[in-house]
């Protein structure tokens, strides 16, 4: 038999995952988080931030204290939560649907949330920001449920599920457009919500989204190792002790919970769910789902950085964060794709 020569060389069997990679991602988030808290219309020094967080009352003026604790911290934490939720769900959807282009909004979650948000904005006269998260959360969950329901058997045909997700998405978008036309005053708030925004970040938003996203990520990290079985045929996965359909259902429910929470907290922020998983897998040359915690950490860092850009690039004006993620994400993504193709050839 022909003995193949390895392009990368080496006789040793490489480890499938290394904890050092996860640790570096955690350090990255720490540094990026500090940058995100420090910079803005008012700059705060690193040392005084650290001192204040660890209880020193004299490190910052009262005004700076308020900027730090009431504006910057909740915003950076929310960006990190949303980024980790979107990146992890994207990676999970890509494995579950065996489709590298799958993103967290695939099963109609985005359009469902958009419709929910539009209903909230067009029907409430005052307390828009109270109702909006609830409506968009329910819209996202409902859209995914309807996609599952009309596709019939849960995972007998993953492509049927994808197509019903597209159909449900189009239907929800059609109703949303109709509602917007009827209530033209709502166009602007709906539009800015669709582009994604973290301006509404407050400790209350942070706390409820932290609860849901933590639950979802806890489940996804717990099943991460087994998810690798879904890269094989169902029979092989079964023979290795995995019940493939049950695993897929758990994975999709948890990923949808994370996505719906992210959308409810910050609107539709695109590109994170596709770019970050590919970036991590491309940079580490590893496809195992043991990378999920790392993908979550890099997703968090990515969105904290994007939000920093959104706040500072045109300061004092603010760019929608979705514009930044796409503006930076798309070219970055193309570079990774191109490198990957060259490696594959």
């Amino acid at each position: 038999m022909r003995i193949l020569r390895s392009k990368t060389g080496g006789e040793e069997l490489r480890s499938i995952w290394r904890w050092e990679l996860t640790l570096s991602a955690a350090l990255l988030l720490l540094i990026v988080g500090l940058l995100g808290i420090s910079f803005g219309p008012i700059n705060l020094s690193f040392s005084s931030i650290v001192k204040s967080i660890f209880g020193s009352h004299n490190a910052l003026s009262e005004q700076d204290q308020s900027v730090l604790f009431d504006i910057r911290l909740p915003r950076v934490i929310l960006a990190a939560l949303v980024g980790s939720a979107l990146a992890t769900s994207g990676a999970v959807y890509q494995t579950v649907f065996r489709n590298p282009l799958a993103d967290p909004y695939l099963l109609g979650a985005a359009a469902g949330a958009g419709l929910g948000a539009t209903i909230a904005i067009t029907n409430s006269h005052q307390n828009v920001y109270g109702l909006l998260p609830i409506f968009s959360f329910l819209g996202a969950i409902l859209a995914v449920l309807v996609s599952f329901f009309i596709s019939g058997k849960f995972f007998a045909e993953p492509n049927t599920l994808l197509l019903s997700g597209i159909a449900v998405g189009s239907f929800a978008t059609a109703i949303q457009t109709y509602l917007q036309q009827r209530h033209s005053a709502s166009l602007r708030p709906v539009y800015s919500w669709i582009l994604g925004e973290l301006t509404a970040a407050s400790w209350s938003v942070v706390s409820w989204s932290a609860i849901y996203i933590s639950i979802a990520l806890f489940i996804l990290f717990a099943i991460a190792k087994q998810l690798d079985g879904l890269m094989l045929t169902d029979e092989e996965a079964y023979s290795l002790g995995v019940n493939p359909n049950r695993l897929r259902i758990i994975a999709v429910i948890a990923a949808t919970l994370a996505t719906a929470t992210a959308v409810a907290a910050s609107g539709l922020i695109g590109f994170v769910g596709i770019v970050v998983p590919h970036l991590v897998r491309g940079a580490t040359h590893r496809v195992t789902n043991r990378a999920l915690p790392t993908i979550a950490l890099v997703g968090a860092s990515f969105l904290v950085l994007a939000d920093l850009g959104a706040r500072t690039l045109l300061s004092p004006a603010e760019l929608p964060i979705g514009v930044i993620t796409a503006f930076v994400g798309a070219p970055f993504f193309l570079i990774v794709l191109r490198r990957k193709r060259l490696v594959n050839q």
Partner: protein, 252 residues
């Protein structure tokens, strides 16, 4: 002993397997033969425990459906080839059954390395599975099944993607498992190869079993010809080996 009693499998309104009664011995190589659509792959999935059925299928007395206490390896005819996964990672997945998911013990690593050597894939361990040729991929599949250290291995058309030389190489390596007591059940389109390697042949047609018995006797049976609508001829070489070929005139 694998004991199958009045096995029926329906998918929607379609009857895939009907009224199958069969007994298969452990430690032997059983080969399922028959035309396309006979239900061979479905029977393999049933024996694996991954397909719903009515009737009874027991392995050493225990019903097989959803029974994860057995260690049965499965080699599919059409594998999913995960993009970006290296050969070593792919083969290492086979250890999940023994070690649990995501564990890479030193002994597992050395078993994977030895198996890669035995299947001629060592040196390609860091290459991507998507870059392998058909024959190399088949060897990677077998390697993954071997590191599972299974008590039974099910193979769906293990030689269909291979040239003649590699067919024999793969079949020899599967045959060598018998000496360690592993039960082998495979499907195979090439009945000549099936007769050469299997101890036991099961002839299937339209979801039913026409005949089951020792390879030698099944090859010369009228049921085998019937399964292929009398369009095959069985020749015996001087060495005593049977060669089964399609009947050219009948096909016109």
């Amino acid at each position: 002993m694998i004991k199958i009693d009045s096995l029926n499998v329906r998918i929607g309104s379609k009857e895939i397997l009907r009224e199958i009664d069969l007994e298969l011995s452990h430690g032997k190589w059983t080969c399922l033969v028959g035309p396309n659509g006979a239900g061979k792959t479905t029977l393999l999935r049933v024996i694996l425990g991954a397909a719903e059925y009515s009737g009874s299928v027991t392995d050493n007395g225990a019903e097989v459906f959803n029974n994860h206490s057995r260690n049965v390896a499965f080699v599919p005819q059409h594998p999913n080839i995960p993009a970006g996964m290296s050969v070593a990672e792919y083969v290492m997945l086979g250890r999940a059954k023994r070690d649990g998911w995501g564990t890479e013990s030193k002994s597992s690593k050395s078993l994977v390395a030895r198996t890669l050597k035995a299947t001629g894939l060592f040196g390609a361990q860091n290459q991507l599975v998507s870059q392998l040729s058909g024959g190399e991929m088949q060897r990677a599949l077998i390697a993954r099944a071997l590191v599972q250290e299974p008590e039974m291995i099910l193979l769906d058309e293990p030689t269909s993607a291979l040239d003649l030389h590699h067919q024999i190489a793969i079949l020899n390596s599967i045959e060598s498992l018998k000496s360690s007591g592993v039960t082998i059940i495979s499907t195979m389109h090439d009945i000549t190869l099936a007769a050469m390697y299997a101890d036991h042949l099961v002839v299937m047609k339209s979801g039913g079993v026409l005949l089951s018995g020792a390879a030698k006797s099944v090859v010369h049976s009228p049921e085998l010809k019937d399964a292929f609508e009398n369009r095959i001829n069985v020749f015996t070489l001087e060495s005593g080996r049977e060669v089964i070929l399609p009947n050219k005139d009948e096909l016109i």
